[in-house]
Symmetry: C2
Subunit: 107 residues, 2 copies
Amino acid sequence: MNNDVIRGHLDLLLLAVVASGAGHGYAVIRALRERSDDAFDLPEGTIYPALHRLEQQGLVVSSWTVAEGRRRRVYRLSGVGQRALVDGQRDWRAFARSVDAVLEGAR
Amino acid sequence: MNNDVIRGHLDLLLLAVVASGAGHGYAVIRALRERSDDAFDLPEGTIYPALHRLEQQGLVVSSWTVAEGRRRRVYRLSGVGQRALVDGQRDWRAFARSVDAVLEGAR
DNA sequence: GCGCAATACATAGGCAGCCTATGCTTGCGT
DNA sequence: ACGCAAGCATAGGCTGCCTATGTATTGCGC
């Protein structure tokens, strides 16, 4: 089902996942898939650049770690990112309400 | 607030508005703005190409009319468009539920 | 009478962002 | 040995929304 309906909402989803301690990129992909009940099964080519974008914007910070012999780039929310998450959740609710309002008129 | 969060959802919104008898393009813009309480205030350069896309896909059909001295291209849903609207509403609900599920884990 | 805003349509061009494809390394199971 | 999952990364393309611009008509204010 995932096409580009997610466009513009991905950053918020990533912030939410990182906020609850998902850590590194691959885990973010898994968490996103599991929490959405397989609705958001996003490829690495989507997630990694998105995380880099978030870091460039200062919403997340990353550091290298090694776990189970594998290097991992672990992300966590910055203060700015926390605020962005709260704002994003508010904006999402407003957006969803607006869409619902338009759709309701249809039937 | 309108950025590209609407990306991928615009077609559904247009189908919904046309379904409830909005008619021509300019009226669609107004209806969208009013029903969403000013959240969706989209420029003509967004709406007209979108309506043309929908027509090319066979979801709407158009015809020229003249009202109040002005020419108007009036749109109405096709049978395929009706089904697309129903499907789109279902998909939207699933999408919104998925986003909510991911966001809930965050707090 | 004139200018300006709103109504109404249309299209070209730009840009952002998600996806596809590809490549690399390491660890584990068989 | 071999394959596959885990893990990271980037280049390139495509799609679709927005900006800017153009046309024409009606109606209002001055």
